[in-house]
Amino acid sequence: MTEKRIIDVDYSQVDTERMRINMGPQHPSTHGVLRLEVEVDGEIVTDVVPHIGYLHRCFEKACEKMSYPQVIPFIDRMDYIASMNNELPYVVGMEKLMGINVPDRIQLIRMAFAELNRIANHQLAVATFGLDAGAFTPFLYLFRDREMILNLFEKASGGRLLYNYFWIGGLMHDVPPTFKQECLNIISTVRKTNEEVMNLLIGNSIFIERTINVGILPADVAVNFGVSGPVLRGSGLNYDLRRSEPYLLYDKFDFDVVVGKGEMGTLGDCWDRNIVRMREMEESCKIIEQIIANFPDESSDVRALVPRRVKPPKGEIYSKAENPKGELGFYIVSDGTVNPYRMRARATSFVNLSVLPEISKGYMIADLIMILGSLDIVLGEIDR
């Protein structure tokens, strides 16, 4: 079923010995402070043990000491590339727990910002993946366009990277007056650049050679490990929380769930996972276009429903949403006070990383970097 990459050199003739080497935690290609203990036989990876905890920032314990609105900035700092998406499941879950129904306009704004942040995240993921493969130019192009999205976020929330924008019951501020126009500008620029990147990077024969038939993740293994997001969809499984369990207003919008098809190599290889991200950007653009078309002109008070004192009734809730990296969920236990009794995060990257030892055995050590890059992990979320 899974065809391993053919290596021309006959390693049975080469005198090799097994050794254990460390990669990280300050290696630039590990996408953060991840240490990989790699067991190699010659240049072939025989085992990988990820060591985590270099960025453990005590999120879950700190939440027990915070009031509910104070938790949001800490959630921002979990997956710091897609902060808007991180806030979403928590805020939606808290609203469900407290019985607040936010108006459609706020939901539309939330969707628009979540999709914009999804684009920004995928741009960074594709850019750094290209960087791992040795392609520096797409990095510059994609980061140039990412600045446009960050500028819009900055106008809305005041932060370039960490926003604290979605509040329980509403938003921090209303969108800037130029919101619609800027969204349209971003969409047209993203589409133009994506076309360039498709030609420059994704369709580049060197890049294709480097990524096809590497790190093949079969669908059954993906399901067994519980991975989600582009990693799961890259293996050909049609599972997207926006479609299967819609939240906000996603059920009223028209978009496709992108799945890998194994166009270049085997289904579920690094190239497939990457192309899913590229195509998801286009789907996000489609969603934003529909939001702009339906966006009400008159402004409203976005803080009208924000409770003065967030004190949910006794109870518990698990709230999840489709993060750019996969399913992010928060399990919130309330004991009726102003502080959460327990806060548990189902971190996407943590689950996605767990599949790394399974899919990287038998490949060259340089392919390990590509496999790790294609998983698109963030250590802030893994260690929390």
């Binding site: 630039p28 953060g32 960025l55 005590c58 140039r144």
Partner: protein, 219 residues
């Protein structure tokens, strides 16, 4: 402040620069400062944006190096945890003199939002290594980071190499003494900690286990 500005000087001018060897050395040192990439957390993403097309950090002469042995200064960008503390110090010790440290972001400066309840967070990287420039922000804006970088360049360009102390301006002297004091404190502490570390029998003992937490709660 630059050496080349003197070319337009009415007295020197005409392609002639009068100055000391120290001026020339410091000019070269301050305009080509290579840094060690040490991205830890959120600030590292902002740091990637700094290196990308829009902000283009290389125009300041700062080029990323991946090895501490080639670097002039280290930029600690992000939350330093107890597990990371040993490594950060090792990297700093591997750098060759003269070496400088920039602390980027609230977490590296003081512990940031994790100051109060972060049981695994070192409350400021200056408890590990002597810091020269602090850049505030969570994360700092790229412009704020550039200000910090220019401050560091200014510091390098006015540093005394050959000059006698009597001839230095009061400002430069104070800066030099502060730096020397920090480095001396660091060396003393490092020597002490090394003794403790070698004497420790306990397996898995970290040099930075609970010390920093206690300090954080006292202050």
């Amino acid at each position: 402040m630059g050496l080349l500005n003197r070319l337009d000087d009415p007295i020197q001018g005409d392609g002639i620069i009068l100055g000391t060897v120290e001026d020339l050395l410091n000019w070269g040192r301050s305009k080509s400062d290579w840094y060690l990439q040490f991205g830890l957390a959120c600030c590292a993403i902002e740091f990637m944006a700094l290196n990308a097309a829009h902000f283009d950090m290389m125009r300041f002469g700062a080029i990323p190096r991946t090895s501490p042995r080639q670097a002039d200064f280290i930029i600690v960008s992000g939350t330093v945890t107890l597990k990371m503390a040993d490594r950060i110090k090792t990297l700093y010790e591997q750098m060759s003199e003269p070496r400088y440290v920039m602390s980027m972001g609230s977490c590296a400066n003081t512990g940031g939002p994790y100051w109060e309840h972060g049981y695994h967070v070192v409350k400021g990287v200056d408890r590990l290594i002597p810091v020269d420039v602090y850049v505030p922000g969570c994360p700092p804006r790229p412009e704020a980071f550039f200000e910090g970088l220019v401050k560091l360049q200014k510091m390098i360009s006015t540093q005394a190499i050959f000059r006698k102390r009597e001839k230095m301006s009061a400002e430069d002297l104070a800066a030099l003494e502060l730096r020397n004091k920090k480095i001396q404190e660091y060396n003393e502490r490092a020597a002490q900690e090394n003794i403790e570390f070698t004497n420790a029998k306990h397996v898995g003992y970290s040099r930075y286990s609970l010390d920093f937490l206690n300090k954080g709660e006292q202050s």
